[in-house]
């Protein structure tokens, strides 16, 4: 339901089974869903994906769908609540697998195989399946079995060391950025493998820590090219101060950057700041050493300017600038509105929810204007078992009675 009706969705006909219990795997499958894949979230009948329990929980939503993280990363999927630890559950899974192109999972290495659902087991059922595994350190190597949460993966990657205030504690990129980055890499690799002319089974093994180690490659290159270990004084740039530093204005913060084509003379004119030249800031080194003075000079000019005034005026004049917006500010952004950048997530009996879309326009329109809201646990068990796998009512009843399957009542509660 995520497509316009005049053109085929990009990933029409691609079916994904999402076994994830971490947000990175869930996000990987969600990205594919937004481009038109049919994603079935296969989750335990008792609690479901642990992401469902991740706070904050939002009152007013159905009990198993209250997590804000769940509403984001599990949007546009259907939920089948199925116990894969039981033989009868695995039997159902194998039936479903016959219809699937991709399986996404985030268990510790070896866990799926221990349940008879390892890569070799899956390919025996579906010879061209692509299994995508996302774990902190990957499937093999000395630390493959180790635990790692988002901040821990950011630490191992080298990214965390470079992030934070001058002289302060390394500070992570919040909201599960390592998981999200790994999820994007996973989706790219998996999607690529489905483009083979003659499809065969593949196992994609994504490391969350390595995903973040690709982000700022320079720190690695400084070491491998000249033996220098760089701290970059955390976030402050070493060669272009004021380059993205935040400056206080009337109602928040703006950021300037010296990259992007404007000369210092043009900054002098725009801000009426002859000091930029008279105090020697035309030399980059001087900007590095005296950034506090630079900040003082600029902030004196920004005190009675609002973020939006600043942004409109400077950007129209061709300066590359930014303003600090809150996530809530984005919902009111006229530009994002004009571009239909948000998908509308719909669920019966729930208020409409806007979610960031795939990040691009396809032939001038959103690829995913309307999506399903994240499902309640087992919301689609019945339609998948009866409608798609063709199970008889008696079989479904038995699976439910035995607790192998859970099916939410109609209406999603």
């Amino acid at each position: 339901m995520s497509q316009r009706d005049d053109v085929a969705a990009l990933l029409d006909g691609l079916r994904v089974l999402d076994l994830s219990t971490r947000s990175g795997g869930a996000f990987c499958a969600k990205l594919l869903a937004d481009l038109g894949a049919d994603v079935v979230k296969v989750e335990g009948p008792a609690r479901g994906d642990p992401v469902r329990d991740e706070p904050p929980l939002l009152p007013g939503l159905p009990p198993t769908a209250q997590s804000s993280l769940h509403q984001f990363v599990n949007a546009n999927k259907r939920s089948l609540a199925l116990d894969l630890t039981r033989a009868a559950g695995r039997e159902v899974f194998r039936d479903l697998l016959k219809t699937a192109d991709l399986v996404v999972e985030t268990h510790r290495p070896g866990v799926l195989a221990a349940h008879g659902l390892g890569f070799d087991d899956l390919r025996a059922v579906r010879p061209d399946v692509v299994l995508v595994s996302i774990t902190p350190y990957g499937q093999r190597g000395p630390r493959a079995a180790d635990e790692g949460d988002d901040i821990v993966c950011q630490a191992a990657s080298g990214l965390l060391y470079l992030s934070g205030e001058l002289g302060g504690v390394p500070t992570h990129l919040p909201l599960y950025q390592a998981e999200l980055t790994a999820g994007r890499y996973a989706a790219v690799a998996a999607l690529g493998l489905t483009l083979e002319d003659e499809r065969t089974a593949h196992h994609v093994d994504v490391s969350i820590a390595e995903s973040m180690a690709t982000v700022p490659p320079w720190h690695i290159l400084y070491y491998t090219y000249l033996g220098v270990v760089i701290g970059w004084t955390r976030t402050r740039s070493y060669k272009a101060p004021m380059d993205g530093d935040f400056l206080r204005c009337q109602d928040g913060h703006v950021c300037l950057t010296t990259i992007g084509g404007k000369s210092l003379e043009e900054w002098v004119i725009a801000f009426d700041l002859p000091e930029l030249l008279t105090e020697g800031f035309d030399v980059p080194r001087s900007r590095v050493e005296h950034w506090e003075r630079l900040q003082e000079l600029f902030e004196a000019r920004l005190g009675d300017v609002t973020r939006t005034e600043f942004f409109a005026q400077m950007a129209q004049e061709g300066f590359v600038v930014g303003i600090v917006q809150s996530p809530g500010d984005l919902l009111a952004c006229p530009h994002l509105g004009a571009r239909q950048a948000f998908s509308t997530a719909v669920a019966e009996g729930q208020p409409l929810l806007r979610l960031p879309g795939p990040g691009f326009l396809l032939d001038g329109a959103s690829p995913a204007p309307t999506v399903r809201a994240a499902p309640t646990l087992g919301q689609h068990s019945q339609e998948i078992l009866a409608g798609e796998l063709g199970y008889a009512p008696g079989t479904i009843a038995r699976l439910r009675d035995e607790g192998v399957v859970a099916a939410a009542a109609a209406g999603g509660r």
Binding site: G167, P174, V229, F246, G364
Partner: protein, 448 residues
């Protein structure tokens, strides 16, 4: 990868600079696509941006920048002046033989070159055309310039990053390049999949700003339910302890996340049950969250007595999520990254480069790391493309060369603005605290 790679036979022409699109096309090259970068001899940002070997820009520095060699692996180089009619004619012939055309010039630049997306698609209906800019090609902000840093601020990422009592934080100067690049790759692969089934081309208009919004999707959901995601440093709304804790030595840290009461008990055991940790207020998650400051303080005092790597190993052995906060040298020498083949060695034939290590791709296929070929010298594939692919007669190629419509070196070898290829002044960097360590034995350590 030993198997035939999935994008073999797919040809991509890309007019790219900076990082966002180059990151996407590296991924396509890794999947087997033939990626031809059409580059300018006047705008050489990507080639001028170091660091250079041993911090010294050589005579022909444009073939030696490490960031160039990292982000342009697996591609071909055609230096072609698109500002001339002859250059454009060659470009159009090349587009005719490609499946994908991608560009990340500023909004309007492509049109000013006389290149029009709709005309290109009319010429070749199954072409997949992608543009990437900060804000996309529609909407009121379409003509505004952007770089990853400003997108970080605009997208909400900076707002949610940083200490509770501090300023918003741009956590990483290039994160938005990587997120945008990944979304470009995804869009192109999805478009190629549909094209394979239906023969249909398409136009993709990607905005980095919207990829940024995706990064804070959870907080955007919360905002619609009246919750504002506040900055909270390294803390987590449901997990404590969660953060970076100081360790023995200068600027040494341990990252730790305790995700359950059982993990807290295991943590206590691993610490040897210090008296402060036996406080019953800390037994349950709600108590640890309510007394987070006290808990973090006590824990930080304890961690400060131990070396980070040793502590991380001890805690991981106890089944906990912990790691030393590693810097570049740690990452390059890390047994896990090395063992998996994430850190890749390229033995450059060019003696000015020699052997060098690079970060690879963070995924393996069927147990194999993805190999990426060395980045091309400037104009290395001029002949292969013009003669081999486009079948231009040698005299035409010589003519293009003579008129500098094709080239194999920058038009100007000196100034290229902010990113002039100057040697790095290490003393200066030590002054401002940027250099943590200079390892004089790094060559033997890495390449010996």
């Amino acid at each position: 990868m030993s198997h035939r790679r999935p994008l073999e036979g797919v040809r991509v022409v890309t007019v790219e600079d900076y990082l966002v699109l180059p990151h996407a096309t590296v991924l396509l090259a890794g999947l087997g696509a033939e990626v031809i970068r059409v580059e300018s001899d006047a705008r050489v940002f990507s080639r001028a941006n170091g660091p250079f070997p041993e911090g010294q820009a050589s005579e022909d520095w444009w073939n030696h920048g490490s960031s160039y060699h990292s982000w342009y692996r697996g591609k071909q180089s055609l230096v072609l002046n698109l500002a001339t009619p002859e250059g454009r004619a060659v470009f159009l012939r090349l587009v005719d033989r490609c499946d994908v055309l991608a560009e990340n010039l500023r909004y309007g630049s492509f049109a000013r070159l006389g290149l029009d997306y709709e005309a290109l698609r009319a010429r070749k209906p199954d072409l997949v055309v992608l543009s990437c800019t900060g804000f996309g090609h529609t909407g009121p902000w379409r003509a505004y310039g952007a770089v990853a840093r400003t997108i970080d601020a605009l997208s909400g990422m900076s707002f949610v990053s940083g200490a509770a009592d501090g300023l918003p934080l741009r956590g990483n100067p290039s994160y938005m390049d990587v997120t945008g690049g990944l979304n470009i790759a995804m869009a192109l692969l999805a478009a190629l999949r549909r094209r394979k089934r239906t023969g249909q081309g398409c136009r993709i208009d990607l905005a980095m700003y919207e990829s940024g919004a995706q990064c804070v999707g959870q907080a955007i959901v919360e905002a619609q339910h009246g919750l504002t995601r506040e900055r909270m440093g390294n803390a987590h709304p449901a997990k404590a302890p969660h953060g970076c804790y100081p360790c023995a030595g200068r600027d040494q840290w341990l990252a730790l996340s305790i995700r359950s009461d059982a993990e807290w008990q295991a943590m206590k055991e691993a610490m040897g049950r210090p008296a402060w940790a036996d406080d019953p207020r800390f037994d349950r998650a709600d108590g640890r969250l309510a007394h987070r400051a006290e808990l973090d303080g006590q824990l930080g005092t304890w961690t400060a007595q131990h070396p980070a790597a040793e502590l991380a190993a001890r805690l991981r052995a106890a089944g906990l999520a912990a790691a030393a906060v590693q810097h570049a040298k740690d990452v390059v020498l890390d047994a896990q990254f090395r063992g998996r083949g994430f850190v890749q060695r390229i033995d450059h034939a060019d003696p000015h480069l020699g052997p060098r290590l690079y970060p690879g791709l963070p995924y393996q296929v069927d147990g194999q790391a993805v190999e990426l070929a060395e980045a091309p010298r400037m104009g290395e594939h001029n002949d292969a493309v013009l003669q081999g692919l486009l079948e231009l007669p040698p005299e035409d190629i010589a003519d293009l060369q003579a008129r500098r419509i094709i080239a194999s070196a920058p038009a100007r070898r000196d100034a290229v603005g902010l990113y002039s290829p100057v040697a790095i002044d290490l003393d200066q960097q030590v002054t401002v605290g940027d250099v943590v360590e200079i390892d004089p034995a790094y060559r033997e350590r890495l390449y010996g």
